[in-house]
């Protein structure tokens, strides 16, 4: 069984404590079970793996938490059991994705989140951590956020560090505009893994134009980690155009405590444009093009996507993409369709193929297709069955199957009426 760190136990214990006085306005529970069979390569041989996977989510709101007014509890996680083709990491695994209590106090000026959470905004870069976040509104438009804790280990047990802390100051002159300055420090085995300062902003001079950008600067390396700026313009109600210029230093997304962080200082620059045109209310076309330079070596990327609602309940999509990744690339084509047959039954199909410029295993193409049926067989219940097959550079012929059953149960105290 995959070990659950001791700190996760503390987090869950804190959550259990929070519900010790169970005055709750509502609870939503979601259980999703997956049973699938798909080919996998193990030690150079193809085997059939059949994992049973369970996703669990519990969300309780309106908790009567002392001092925090109306609080909220969320716990979500997963567990898996290998029925066939057990993973080398063991037959069973599981983890907590989120486990936090969120409350507000001081006349809603303070928002406090305790437990396993995702921290976003500015330099935090969506860090998942076991810890605490506090956000305080100093004035109506000025907000200060501080967070700290232990970064959560990624899948496959990749360390993210021993401790992390940071914060952000933001001023929002309007609902859709904001400017912020942020800071993040992550330590790993006593070494600086990441030490960044950032600025970010979104400015919307009109309803049809908004400009967003951010820059992150490494205080450890005194270089720009990444910077991006771009306007988004709704030229007509049916036509949108987005432009972007981006620079990123890929090596600065490696932990500074990594031995490979001393080897290179590459930079990747990108200019891009995306246009979306609603040809008719039921037909939309999106086209994008990007030019990139990796330490001066050029690459490019372009694609187009068409989505058409050809009849009520029927959606067709088609996508074509070309990617030139500096010294190799691919062409990719994809078509998809979904059709609602009845109120409760939807069929969907998907075919995806690409052609590589370089072969793998002597094969330079791949084609996979799948069909899925989605059936709402009872209120709050959904079942999905999927069958897929294809030929890939790894496997001359492959087939896979999956069954999913999802159940969502919700009770709200305020839904009750008096007799």
């Amino acid at each position: 069984m995959r070990p659950v760190p001791g700190r996760a136990v503390l987090a869950v214990a804190a959550l259990a404590g929070a519900v010790a006085r169970p005055a709750v306005a509502g609870v939503e529970v979601s259980l999703i079970s997956y049973l699938s069979a798909r080919p996998e390569i193990r030690d150079g041989r193809a085997i059939t793996a059949a994992p049973l996977l369970e996703l669990v989510s519990v969300d309780a709101w309106g908790l009567n938490a002392p001092g925090l007014g109306s609080a909220r509890l969320h716990v979500s996680g997963w567990g898996s059991l290998g029925l066939l083709g057990t993973s080398p990491r063991g037959p069973a695994a599981g983890d907590l994705d989120l486990a936090y209590v969120e409350g507000r106090g001081f006349e809603d000026r303070l928002r406090l989140v305790l437990g396993r959470q995702l921290v976003g905004g500015g330099a935090a870069r969506f860090l998942q951590l076991d810890g605490a976040l506090a956000e305080y509104s100093l004035a109506r438009r000025l907000r200060v956020t501080a967070w700290g804790g232990v970064p959560v280990a990624a899948r496959f047990n990749v360390r993210q560090g021993d401790a992390a802390g940071g914060g952000r100051v933001a001023w929002a002159p309007s609902w859709d505009s904001e400017v912020g300055a942020s800071y993040a420090l992550v330590l790993d085995r006593g070494l600086v893994s990441r030490h960044d300062a950032g600025v970010d902003g979104r400015w919307s001079p009109s309803r049809s134009l908004w400009i967003s950008g951010h820059a992150l600067y490494s205080l450890a390396e005194l270089r720009v980690v990444e910077a991006e700026l771009g306007p988004h313009w709704k030229i007509f109600p049916a036509l949108e155009l987005a432009l972007s210029a981006r620079r990123v230093s890929p090596d600065l997304l490696l932990p500074r405590s990594s031995i490979l962080s001393v080897f290179a200082e590459p930079s990747r620059d990108e200019l891009g444009a995306v246009a979306t045109w609603e040809v008719r209310p039921e037909v939309a076309v999106t086209a994008d093009v990007r030019a990139a330079w990796l330490s001066g070596v050029p690459g490019s990327d372009a694609g187009a996507l068409v989505a058409a609602r050809v009849a009520p309940g029927t959606l067709l999509t088609g996508e074509l993409r070309w990617l030139n990744a500096f010294d190799q690339g691919y062409w990719r084509a994809r078509v998809g369709a979904s059709r609602r047959l009845t109120t409760n039954l939807v069929l969907a199909g998907d075919a995806d193929a690409f052609w590589r410029s370089t072969a793998v295993n002597g094969v330079n193409h791949s084609a996979v297709a799948s069909a899925a049926a989605s059936w709402t067989f009872a209120p709050d219940w959904l079942a999905v069955a999927e069958l897929g097959a294809g030929t890939t550079p790894e496997l001359a012929a492959e087939a896979r199957a999956m069954v999913k059953v999802a159940w969502r149960f919700r009770v709200a105290a305020s839904d009750r009426s008096a007799p």
């Binding site: 070990p3 609870v27 109306s70 716990v75 989120l98 200082e265 990719r332 790894e394 709200a412």
Partner: protein, 356 residues
């Protein structure tokens, strides 16, 4: 039993206890208070007589609902007779008002001061709770608010959270100012970084965690085969093209997968051999300094991809050749010494891997 195994079992037990506690709370029929407002109004009882504290209430709170002692001012006789059922829905287990989520920002104190309201509760409370109707149905409708607060600008820009504390459980569509059309999968980080509060109007962090949680169990594309309309990064045979995608934008991969992800997966698949394996990720001549495909320039340009497999700290392949005195020579980029002085050798333990 190992400490970690015990910790895991304890976590499961505590989670179960927390869930059980919640279900117990919900499964039990909670008490509530029957309050026939119509009878009280007909008896010309002033609102203030029972709701005195509401005149100073800055936020919505159950604490401002009348306490029992207020009711007993008139109905003490019924309590003394044991007629608990007169007010309590569950007289056998008498409690207080059912707990409700505070969903909006609303100051009764400020509203009651307004001359348009003039301390008349019926300005907003067009309908009052009765025993025959759930309390929720008797809350003032949003139209009561918009009679005075037109909020045209907030509607236009989606500024709902000035009043609504949480809209994430409502089925809303993205507004023009935050249009999710086109390639929003690629462009959404800019909005999330700089205006996460706007994202949070509709999306809880559970939504973000589907993709961004490092603990997530599988790519979303695997879990949602029925959503062919969604642009998802790992759709189709992503494994067959992942090397090209990683080369095109390794920074995007490393945000989620970190170092050693690649090595772990390649090890599971038995693809780590460099001895002529057809899926060896290195081209011919990768170790030959005379070859155009020599690894030095490639590593300078794309070290994040190297780190995917070779980030084993002091025991990594790179260190064996590039350590001081090794055949690989000095690996540091030209500007390295400008930022990392020799003194760092004694303070940064990582330096000792190559500079013993």
């Amino acid at each position: 039993m190992s400490g970690r195994r015990r910790a895991a079992l304890a976590a499961v037990a505590l989670t179960g206890a927390a869930c059980a506690s919640l279900f117990t709370a919900l499964g039990r029929r909670a008490d509530g208070i029957k309050m026939p407002h119509a009878k009280h109004v007909a008896a010309k009882v002033d609102c203030l007589a029972c709701h005195e504290t509401i005149f100073d209430a800055e936020v919505l709170s159950e604490a401002d609902l009348p306490r029992e002692k207020v009711c007993l001012k008139c109905h003490r006789e019924e309590k003394e007779k044991g007629n608990c059922g007169m007010c309590h829905l569950e007289p056998d287990r008498p409690g207080t008002y059912p707990h409700q989520e505070r969903a909006v920002v609303m100051s009764h104190a400020k509203h009651l001061e307004l001359k348009e309201v003039n301390e008349d509760c019926r300005t907003c409370h067009l309908d009052l709770p009765e025993p025959s109707r759930p309390a929720l149905a008797a809350k003032p409708p949003m139209a009561s608010c918009t009679n005075c607060h037109r909020h045209e600008q907030e509607y236009a820009s989606g500024g709902c959270n000035a009043c609504h504390l949480d809209l994430s459980r409502y089925a809303l569509r993205p507004l023009s100012g935050f249009s999710h059309q086109g390639d929003y999968l690629r462009s959404h980080p800019a909005d999330a970084r700089a205006r996460g509060a706007a994202c949070a109007t509709c999306h809880e962090q559970t939504f973000c965690a589907e993709c961004h949680a490092r603990t997530a169990v599988a790519p979303v594309a695997w879990l949602l085969p029925e959503r062919v309309d969604r642009l998802l990064i790992h759709r189709g045979d992503f494994v067959g093209r992942h090397d090209i995608e990683a080369k095109a934008d390794s920074a995007t991969c490393s945000r989620c997968h970190g170092t050693s992800f690649c090595a772990d997966c390649h090890a599971t698949r038995g693809l780590l051999s460099l001895s002529g394996s057809p899926v060896d990720p290195h081209p011919q001549g990768f170790s030959d300094p005379r070859s155009a495909a020599f690894h030095g320039p490639v590593a300078r340009r794309d070290i994040a991809t190297c780190a995917g497999c070779h980030d084993q700290g002091a025991s990594s392949t790179c260190v064996q050749c590039h350590r001081v005195g090794g055949v690989g020579g000095n690996p540091h980029p030209a500007s390295w010494l400008a930022r990392h002085g020799v003194a760092e050798l004694s303070t940064n333990s990582m330096c000792l891997a190559c500079h013993p």
